[in-house]
Symmetry: none
Subunit: 198 residues, 2 copies
DNA sequence: CTTGACCGTTCTCCATTCGTTCTCTATCCT
DNA sequence: AGGATAGAGAACGAATGGAGAACGGTCAAG
C-alpha cells in the first residue's frame, strides 16, 4: 500500500509513459510534481519497485518500467456491453476489455485528420481522425486514400470499372470522380476511425 | 524501452517510412533530427534493432525495416496531416504524433458497443464503439448515456427544458423522448468514438 | 566494366545528463 | 516527544549522446 507521495509519483509516471512512450527521469518527475530536488524521489521510486508496481533497470537512465499489470491497465478500457435505443445495456459475453493498442495500431499505419464533409454519409465527419494502412491496392468498395495525377490526395470510396476508377464521395451533394486507372494511385486503405467530443 | 534519443530516432523513421514508403539513410535521419554527425545515430539504430523495434539488412543502403513489435509497443501513430476532398495532404504544424492512450483513455471511462441506427446523423453507426466518461450531470446538447426509470439505457443527445428532459435521437425517423427530469438518470457523457473497417 | 558519389560501419574524444548516495531540515501523526 | 514521512541540496561516477574522421561496401551512370 503506497504512501501519498508514492501514489502521486506512480500516477505521474503512468501518465508520463502514456504521453511519451518512454519513462521519465527523476528530475522530470520532480519537476512534474513541483519538487526542487530528487533526493527523496529516489526513495519513493525504490519503494514502489519493492512493492511490485515498478521495475527498475538499475543504473540506466530512464530505467523505470511499469509492471505488466499496471501496463495492461494503462491501455485498456472496460467494455461494459452493448447499448441501443430503448434497450438496457447488455453485457457482451467473453469480451470485457477493450485494448486500444490491439484495436487500432498495426504496422504501416498512419493517421490523418479529415476536413470537409464529403464522406458524411459514411459517418466520417469534419474533424475526425482516420487511420490508414499503407497499401497500393484495395478491394472494390473499400474507402481509400487516393492520389490523382500525383497531386491531390482524397478520401473516397473506391469502385473499379474495368480500366476506369471511380472515387465516390459519401455525400449526395458531391459528384463521383471518374478517372482512367493510370491516373489514380492508391496510397492506403481506411482501417479505423476515431473522434473525440469536447 | 528506448532512451530518449532512440525514441526520437524511431519516431522519425516511422514518419519517414509513412511518407516516402522507403527507409531513410542515416544522413537523412541525422538531418531530420538536427544532428551534424551520424556516428552516434548508428549506435541508436543498432540498439533499436537489438531491442526488436527494427530489422536491419546489414550493409544494404536504406536497409531499415520496422517490425510489428514497434507499432504495438509504441502507443502512437504518425499523424501525417489533413486530408480533404481535392486537396493534397497538408502537414499539421506542431502536431505530428497521435497518441491513442492520451487521446482516448482517462479515469472513469468505459466503452460500449452501439447497436441500432438512432444516432446515425451524428456519425455514430451500428457497430461503432463509444467511449463514455462516467458522470451524473451533463451540459445541454451533449450526447449522453441515460437511464430512464432505472430500466432502459440509451445513447441520445440531451436537451434540458426546465423540469423536463428531452432525449433526442440523431435520426429523423425516430421521435424525441420527453420525460420529467426525475425519471431520467445520466450515467455518462460521450467523450470518444471509434470504428474499425474490415 | 569502371568510376565516383553515396552510404553503412567503426573508432576516438568530449560534454552533458542522470541515477545514486549522503547529510541536514521540515512536517505530520499518534 | 519521537518516529515516520518528505524535501532540499550537493557531490560523484556511470550512462548517454554528439562531433568528427576514416574506411570499405553498394549502386547506378557512363
Amino acid at each position: 500500500m503506497p504512501t501519498r507521495a508514492q501514489h502521486k509519483t506512480l500516477n505521474f509516471i503512468r501518465h508520463f509513459i502514456a504521453r511519451h512512450d518512454c519513462a521519465p527521469t527523476l528530475s522530470e518527475i520532480a519537476a512534474g510534481l513541483g519538487l526542487r530536488s530528487k533526493g527523496s524521489l529516489h526513495k519513493h521510486v525504490q519503494a514502489l519497485a519493492e512493492a511490485g508496481y515498478l521495475k527498475i533497470r538499475s543504473g540506466q537512465q530512464r530505467g523505470i518500467e511499469l509492471t505488466r499489470f499496471a501496463e495492461q491497465q494503462l491501455h485498456s478500457l472496460p467494455l461494459l456491453g452493448r447499448i441501443a435505443a430503448g434497450q438496457p445495456i447488455e453485457a457482451i459475453p467473453g469480451e470485457d476489455t477493450l485494448n486500444l493498442t490491439e484495436f487500432l495500431l498495426g504496422p504501416d499505419r498512419f493517421a490523418l485528420r479529415v476536413t470537409g464533409d464529403s464522406m458524411i454519409d459514411a459517418g466520417i465527419l469534419d474533424g475526425d481522425t482516420v487511420i490508414v494502412e499503407r497499401r497500393d491496392t484495395a478491394d472494390d468498395g473499400a474507402i481509400v486514400v487516393a492520389l490523382v495525377d500525383n497531386g491531390e490526395a482524397t478520401l473516397k470510396r473506391l469502385r473499379k470499372r474495368g480500366d476506369r476508377i471511380e472515387l465516390i464521395p459519401a455525400n449526395t451533394a458531391y459528384p463521383p470522380l471518374i478517372y482512367p486507372a493510370n491516373r489514380v494511385q492508391i496510397q492506403g486503405v481506411l482501417v479505423g476511425q476515431l473522434r473525440t467530443y469536447p
